[in-house]
């Protein structure tokens, strides 16, 4: 038995550090097969709308490539640009002989029962690599789709951005309209080499009873940049994630933006940690959370290991209902003198003063509230192509309407 397997077996029952514990045996291991479609247009109509809501463009236009997986089956995989490679992870493992420099390197397989489960019961995922110096113009899109009731989908994704390459990925995770309950576990290991940039935009659009446990870790080398934008406007029953970013090389930069909404009945425990391990590294974590009755824990952790590193953390929460709860937990951990790290956190309801100020301009109370909420969610997403920014704005505006 391999060391990895052994470790996974050892952690099979290990509870996660955060978030409600899930009974994995209550989810089905096996799922029905979906047919592979060589052409994106072949994706069934019924599934297209949900995928589009999660940011997918199913004509494939303005996309460098596409990967679509339904339940356990990769149903489409294509690339339009030289120098970018997209494969189902299982194929990549074969092609690259186990991906030994990348497979369970950034994420610890023994971290908890969810990582362990992904190893022991592995359902593909995407492998995306941008070759050295390649600067892709359009984003690669990846969609992980759940359609079968009560299954668990355990994917393992690997992204490698080679030296001085530039890659945008937009990933949409979503569920079929009829689906009520399922589990999505996504292990993602991203490797950003010297001088490379990865912009990773993730849009989640879940069914009401879905449980979600992403396990993401990112290694950023010298001069590399990792920009992450996470938008979850259609919340799951239970979501817990805490991507861990290591800025390992001099001058590496990261910025994590999170925008999410928790409706009544949702438990969302989200956050991120950044380890500033090298000189001149910089980080920013920004989260804007809204509770319309659900419970949110918004975490953020910055750890500074070198003098002169700079980092800032912002957790702002808006309560739109009488029930629900938002806990902001910003943490700063300076391991050496001379780190510059700061945080701000604010949780509250919309200020009556702001609403009335806008009303004095002739705007109705409902419209004023909507303007303030949209403003609250309007995070400047640096480094995002205009087209992706529009996509995110559209998702927020669409979902924002139903919040009021």
């Amino acid at each position: 038995m391999s060391k990895i397997k052994e470790k996974a077996l050892g952690a099979a029952e290990k509870k996660a550090a955060y978030g409600p514990d899930l009974d994995l045996s209550s989810f089905k291991h096996k799922a029905g097969k979906h047919a592979y479609k060589a052409d994106l247009a072949g994706i069934p109509e019924a599934e297209k709308a949900g995928m589009a809501d999660a940011g997918m463009i199913l004509s494939g236009e303005k996309r460098t490539g596409s990967y679509i997986q339904m339940d356990h089956s990769p149903v489409h995989c294509s690339v339009r640009e030289e120098g970018v490679e997209i494969l189902p992870t299982m194929e990549a493992l074969k092609k690259y002989k186990g991906l030994k420099d990348y497979w369970w390197k950034a994420v610890d397989v023994g971290a908890d029962k969810y990582t362990a489960r992904t190893e022991l019961d592995f359902h593909n995922g995407y492998f995306i690599r941008a070759a050295k110096g390649v600067k892709s113009l359009f984003p690669v899109q990846a969609c992980l789709y759940l359609s079968e009731e009560d299954i668990s989908q355990n994917v393992h994704n690997i992204v490698i951005v080679e030296e001085n390459a530039e890659l945008h990925i937009i990933t949409g995770c979503t569920t079929a309209p009829h689906l009520e309950r399922a589990l999505h576990i996504g292990v993602s290991e991203f490797y950003i080499k010297r001088g490379a940039t990865l912009t990773f935009t993730m849009i989640h659009n879940w069914g009401e009873e879905v449980a979600v446990r992403p396990r993401t870790a990112v290694w950023v080398e010298e001069g590399g940049t990792y920009l992450s934008n996470y938008v979850c406007m259609k919340p799951a029953r239970s979501l817990q994630m805490a991507p861990a970013i290591r800025l390992m090389g001099e001058g590496a930069v990261t910025r994590l933006n999170t925008i999410l909404v928790a409706r009544k009945g949702s438990e969302m425990d989200v956050g991120g940690s950044v380890h500033l391990e090298a000189a001149g590294t910089r980080a920013e974590i920004i989260s804007r959370t809204i509770s319309t009755g659900g419970n949110i824990i918004a975490r953020g952790l910055l750890v500074g290991y070198e003098p002169g590193v700079r980092a800032h953390l912002e957790c702002n929460g808006l309560m739109l209902a009488e029930s629900g709860n938002i806990r902001a937990i910003p943490e700063l951990d300076g391991r050496v003198a001379g780190v510059e790290m700061s945080h701000e956190a604010a949780v509250g309801k919309i200020s009556q003063e702001e609403i009335e100020y806008l009303m004095a301009r002739g705007i109705s109370e409902a419209e004023a509230t909507a303007l303030i909420v949209r403003g609250f969610l309007n995070v400047e997403m640096e480094g995002l192509p205009a087209e992706l920014k529009q996509e995110i704005d559209r998702v927020i505006a669409e979902s924002g309407k139903s919040l009021m």
């Binding site: 009335e356 009303m359 301009r361 002739g362 303007l371």
Partner: protein, 242 residues
């Protein structure tokens, strides 16, 4: 008649801040409110605009013949009342440009040229009132009023925190908003709070009032009143009991 206030009393919390106020502003007229800090001037403007914190306990406010005493703020605005705030809130994520364009939907959308006339162009893409200086805030307020184009303009200390050059600029814009160039056909009216009286150098006002401890103590020619206040103080001005 533009505005009629009859026996108005207003409370904030448990405290009565205005007692039995009466005033009338005829269409086309500009009136000025004087008074010490805390005398109730801002409260009067906020009550006319309809802010929930300013609870009307007695009396009525009539605007263009309609009793607006119980109307929500936005309906008062829709009827044609607009206000420039002294300390407006910051609204994060909402750009001044976007709000002004929204307000000028029916007024031809002249955002850029209006901003230019106020030397405000470079601030258009800032979030509403975020990180603006006192003078810039006044300009932002006026820009919003230009888009709104109200018939009754309530100005709360439009010149406070503004440097001398910009006071001239702001004075010019207010003069235009109040149609001071028109004499007979003027439809715009104004009610202005001023401490420094500087704004009076840029526009003619028809009547002044002195508020003291929430009560209306005097009214008269605004220039004369301002001179009395400057030379002899608020109490002396109140003593003449006109």
């Amino acid at each position: 008649m533009s505005l009629e206030i009859n026996n108005l009393s207003v409370e904030v919390g448990d405290h009565e801040v205005l007692h039995d106020i009466n005033m009338e502003i005829r269409t086309g007229e500009t009136h000025v409110l004087f008074g010490k800090n805390g005398s109730g001037k801002t409260s009067l403007l906020m009550a006319i605009m309809g802010f929930s914190r300013y609870r009307i306990t007695k009396g009525s406010i009539v605007f263009k013949g309609t009793d607006i005493t119980r109307l929500p703020i936005n309906e008062r605005a829709a009827l044609g009342i607009g206000m420039s705030f002294q300390r407006p809130p910051t609204i994060r994520g909402l750009k001044t440009r976007d709000l002004v364009e929204l307000l000028s939907r029916d007024n031809g959308g002249e955002t850029e040229s209006h901003a230019k006339s106020l030397n405000f162009s470079e601030f258009l893409d800032r979030e509403i009132n975020h990180g603006l200086s006192g003078g810039e805030i006044k300009k932002s307020e006026l820009l919003q009023l230009m888009a709104q184009n109200p018939d009754l303009i309530l100005l709360d200390e439009p010149e406070s925190g503004v440097d001398l050059e910009n006071i001239a600029l702001i004075g010019k814009v207010i003069k235009k908003l109040l149609q001071k160039n028109l004499r007979r056909l003027r439809t715009k009216s104004g009610l202005i709070i001023t401490h420094t009286g500087l704004i009076l150098n840029y526009l003619e006002a028809d009547r002044g009032y002195l508020l003291l401890d929430g009560g209306m103590k005097c009214h008269g020619n605004p220039r004369e009143m301002f001179n009395t206040i400057c030379n002899l103080g608020y109490e002396e001005c109140a003593r003449c009991q006109r």
